[in-house]
């Protein structure tokens, strides 16, 4: 048996024939194994869904009770037999509940890591190296220019700016699921204890994080707050909202954006960001290469992102590597998965 007999990329996603399931399918399938709750990976309409409890909860929050025919929760470290395969979930460190899926069959182990990061994150279980024969890795930041600094230092920049410009409102663009809560947790860790304001689009998911015991301090909806009262405050909002009509409710807003893309100046300038914060929920180049090495995999499949550079790197290290042409996965920071109307609609 070869690795491609176990997992094969097809139009609907990564298909496991011997196990009778798909991983993160982009079209409705009978049985779906889902790595994490971001909308490009967790879609509604599947027959049966296997995922962590948190991922299932997030899907329910977003799509409603009937997002799938049936669901089954699985914990980190738990193994399940599916068809001729065994499937084990391991923490991916990307967002709350995110998992790598290890599929073993006929003596071969393949790890589909989904989105992952090996940097510390107070809002989720740390990433775990899973030894394997084939490692499927994302490549969102798969260029050596992407090296994410210590996130606490980036949050320090934000708090320094709040101290220097107490009459301005600081708007932090951050993806609603994961990044926003991580930024809030980091702000709290840095000792800032004033209320933090939230854009309407992230209230529900943030409340869910708080329920799960992630310490986020006092949070308030920004809706209905008087303009003058927002001076000197911090508000978290989806990235697209920070450059829209919605910002006119703030006094002299200063726009920050928490994203790995902020490492590249042209990207930050293009968005009109005044305070780029290089905080990413994806592994950076050093993280990707170190992780690939540590899994001991002799073969690497590279999906969504900058596949070319990472494939090249693997090859120079004597690893068999190939890009996996999966479509339908984007980086959430790029607003791809976000309906254009979301921010304007959230105004109401």
């Amino acid at each position: 048996m070869r690795p491609h007999d176990i997992l094969l990329p097809i139009a609907s996603g990564l298909c496991c024939k011997p196990g009778g399931f798909h991983i993160d399918p982009v079209r409705p399938v009978e049985r779906a194994v889902i790595t994490h709750g971001h909308s490009d990976h967790a879609r509604p309409g599947h027959g049966a869904v296997l995922a962590t409890q948190q991922t299932l909860d997030m899907m329910r929050l977003r799509y409603g009770e009937n997002f799938a025919g049936s669901t089954q929760a699985i914990g980190y470290g738990e193994t399940l037999r599916l068809g001729d395969t065994t499937v084990t979930f391991h923490p991916a460190g990307h967002v709350l509940g995110s998992a790598q899926v290890a599929v073993a069959c006929g003596g071969i182990r393949i790890v589909a890591s989904g989105d992952y990061k090996d940097a510390p994150d107070p809002t989720c279980t740390p990433f775990e190296i899973v030894p394997c024969d084939v490692f499927i890795t994302e490549a969102t930041f798969g260029l050596p220019v992407f090296r994410h600094p210590d996130a606490a230092g980036e949050v320090r920049k934000l708090l320094d700016s709040v101290a220097l410009f107490p009459e301005r409102a600081h708007l932090v663009g951050a993806y609603s699921l994961g990044k926003a809560q991580r930024v809030i947790a980091l702000i709290r860790q840095a000792g800032y204890d004033a209320p933090i304001y939230l854009h309407g689009a992230m209230e529900k998911i943030t409340a869910y994080y708080a329920e799960r015991g992630v310490p986020l301090g006092e949070l308030r909806p920004v809706k209905g707050v008087k303009k003058a009262d927002l001076a000197g405050t911090i508000t978290l909002a989806p990235p697209s909202a920070t450059s829209d009509l919605w910002t006119r409710r703030f006094p002299d807003p200063l726009t920050a954006f928490a994203s790995g893309w902020m490492r590249v100046r042209a990207r930050a300038r293009q968005r009109g960001v005044e305070l780029p914060l290089v905080i990413s929920d994806h592994a950076d180049w050093d993280g990707l290469t170190a992780t690939i090495a540590a899994t001991g995999a002799g073969e690497v499949w590279v999906t969504h992102g900058q596949e070319d550079a990472l494939v090249h790197w693997c090859q120079t290290k004597g690893l068999a590597a190939q890009p996996l042409d999966l479509v339908g996965y984007g980086d959430e920071d790029e607003d791809v998965g976000m309906p254009a109307a979301e921010s304007e609609a959230a105004e109401a």
């Binding site: 190296i129 260029l143 050093d286 170190a290 090495a293 540590a294 001991g296």
Partner: protein
């Protein structure tokens, strides 16, 4: 250096002047001497050392990275210094027998044995290339990178026995004395020691291109604000100061006396005029004023003085006090008499003033070649005298200064320096007529270079800044066209949620009938209320989006006509329309006008011919 880098990083993204000032003042307050002094020097362009060439930086990175990875990265980032700053590999350890990077339990969330075991225990798994180059991003994270990375190059865990990053002072003073041959090794050491932002700032500094949108003037204003001083006072003593400005900061912080400017040719803060409005004339008596032409050149202060050794020092200052002496060496020999002239820099050919477009060829040049000074001969047209020898004339009334100026220029008797003539007039209507037709009112063939008239009170002393009721400028009416809004772009800072930058076009004949061709871009001139109206129009009439740019509907019957005012036109091969406007702004919104009735490119072509018939040909043809 990391603190200076953080400042540059923040300044580079900050669009607002006041916010930039705040960042600078906070930096000067927090950072100690001499680092902050060298920072001020870097921001004011007062540092001099041998700059590194891009080729050197390219060579340094090529030695350290895989060419394919560098190529992909450079393509993506688009800027050499930034690419190098970001992908510069973590320094390699000097000794091969150092303890393993993961030796102190620094592997959170990871069983150190797990990855290693599988890899080493599986003979069939891929082995790293036997003799690879050390590469960028060779697993800087000690935790999981060990298996492959440690075989290639042991690395340093952050903050572990690394040398401290260099200070700005260390970098500046070292660069100052460094020989050319030593530069690559020194630069490498620093790049190893700094983080991404530090490397970016270092590379900007050593290549001599900060380009972060902070003028020397703004940096000095920030220094002044540190001690609640008037920026003029800093400007006045500036020529006598040198990095790292210990005396200056001591004075600003109240720890020392005000430094004395021992410069024999100091700058004097300039006096500026208000724009006169029609309603102002009722309260003004024509007999109280002297009128002159307002020349379309560069305001300049030409100062000549003798130092304690008896040597003559000559300097040219811009109106903000920047020393621009080196840009106009051809004028310096003419400034033989000690004194301070306030006047206009112009290019004269055969006694005729050339247009501003021609003068522009002399501005912002790195090197002034003999060809440049020959083809664009510089001239000073004097209109005020602030100092005569050692005597300060600024407290005298303007009429007296004018008389002293006339004597001074006559004594100087130099073809490169002449007197700006006064314009005779009896009443405001008479002056209005002269302004409308400078050629018949004495400006003669130079009338094209006149952009209006200046009115100066006879009894006005020379006061710094823009004092009320002393000097007035009465400019020509601007050119006006009706153009169609084509694209709108979001602004910056406070305007980041508004579509406030507008590209507009006029009609021109094309193969498939008339079409609009962009002729300019404007982002001011409108009121706040008008901005809201345009913003609403843009949002409702967007046909396409490209990042922050919106394509706005512009059809013959559908679209928004903008009345655009501008000061002048010049030919421009860089614009599709072939013309470029000077100082364009939105003067009115023409909701009443259908786009089909907007102006045509031919109108601009005609204006262009009327504007500058001679000089354009001369400039284009060369000599």
């Amino acid at each position: 250096m990391n603190r200076f880098a953080a400042l540059l990083d923040r300044l580079a993204y900050e669009p607002g002047r006041n916010a930039k000032l705040r960042l600078l003042v906070a930096y000067f307050r927090e950072i100690e001497d001499p680092d902050r002094g060298y920072a001020l020097a870097a921001l004011t362009g007062a540092l001099s050392f041998r700059h590194a060439k891009p080729a050197l930086i390219r060579a340094l990175i090529a030695e350290r990275t895989d060419p394919v990875l560098f190529g992909l990265s450079y393509d993506y980032v688009g800027d050499l210094s930034e690419t190098v700053a970001l992908m510069w590999p973590a320094p390699t350890r000097a000794h091969a027998n150092s303890p393993p990077p993961c030796g102190e339990g620094a592997c959170p969330g990871l069983d150190p044995g797990s990855g290693v075991g599988v890899h080493n225990g599986s003979p069939s798994s891929g082995r790293p290339h036997p003799n690879p180059l050390p590469q960028a991003g060779e697993g800087a994270r000690p935790a999981s990178g060990e298996t492959i990375a440690s075989e290639l190059s042991a690395e340093v865990s952050p903050g572990h026995n690394n040398p401290p990053p260099p200070t700005l002072t260390e970098i500046v003073t070292t660069l100052h004395s460094l020989g050319k041959a030593e530069l690559p090794a020194q630069l490498t050491r620093w790049l190893d020691e700094l983080d991404e932002t530090g490397r970016w700032a270092l590379l900007k500094l050593v290549t001599g291109a900060l380009r972060i949108g902070v003028s020397a003037r703004l940096a000095k204003t920030a220094a002044a604000a540190l001690g609640d001083k008037d920026p003029h006072d800093v400007e006045l003593i500036w020529p006598g100061l040198a990095p790292p400005y210990l005396e200056l900061f001591a004075w600003l912080e109240g720890r020392g006396p005000q430094p004395v400017n021992r410069d024999p040719a100091p700058f004097r803060p300039v006096m500026l005029a208000h724009a006169v409005e029609d309603g102002d004339f009722a309260a003004m008596n024509p007999a109280d004023y002297i009128a002159e032409w307002k020349w379309d050149g560069i305001r300049v202060q030409a100062v000549s003085g003798v130092n304690e050794h008896g040597d003559t020092a000559v300097r040219l200052y811009s109106r903000s006090g920047e020393d621009i002496t080196m840009s106009f060496p051809d004028l310096l020999p003419s400034l033989r008499l000690p004194g301070a002239i306030d006047g206009e820099l112009l290019v004269l050919r055969e006694g005729r003033v050339q247009s501003f477009n021609v003068l522009q060829q002399r501005l912002n040049r790195k090197s002034v070649t003999p060809k440049l000074t020959r083809d664009y001969p510089i001239h000073l047209r004097a209109y005020d005298l602030l100092g005569d020898g050692d005597e300060d004339l600024r407290t005298l009334p303007f009429a007296e200064r004018r008389a002293r100026l006339e004597t001074f220029i006559a004594r100087l008797d130099d073809p490169r320096i002449d007197l700006s003539p006064t314009v005779a007039f009896d009443d405001w209507d008479g002056l209005r007529a002269a302004r409308r037709d400078p050629a018949s009112a004495g400006a003669g063939l130079d009338a094209d270079a006149v952009e209006g008239v200046m009115l100066k009170r006879r009894d006005a002393p020379y006061l710094p800044g823009r004092p009320k009721g002393q000097w007035w400028k009465w400019k020509h009416d601007p050119h006006i066209i009706d153009a169609v809004l084509m694209y709108a772009q979001r602004g910056h800072g406070k305007r980041s949620s508004y579509y406030s930058d507008y590209t507009f076009g006029v009609w021109t004949a094309a193969d498939g009938g008339d079409q609009l061709v962009p002729v300019g871009k404007a982002y001011f001139g409108f009121t706040d209320e008008e901005l809201l109206q345009i913003d609403r129009f843009v949002r409702r009439n967007t046909t396409e989006k490209f990042g922050p740019v919106r394509h706005v509907v512009h059809e013959p019957d559908q679209g928004l006509v903008l009345e655009v005012a501008f000061e002048g036109l010049q030919r421009s091969p860089r614009h599709k329309s072939g013309v470029a406007m000077r100082f364009p702004r939105i003067s009115r919104l023409r909701w009443d006008k259908p786009p089909r009735d907007a102006d045509r490119l031919e109108t601009l072509e005609r204006m262009l011919k009327a504007e500058a018939p001679g000089p354009e040909k001369a400039a284009a043809g060369g000599h």
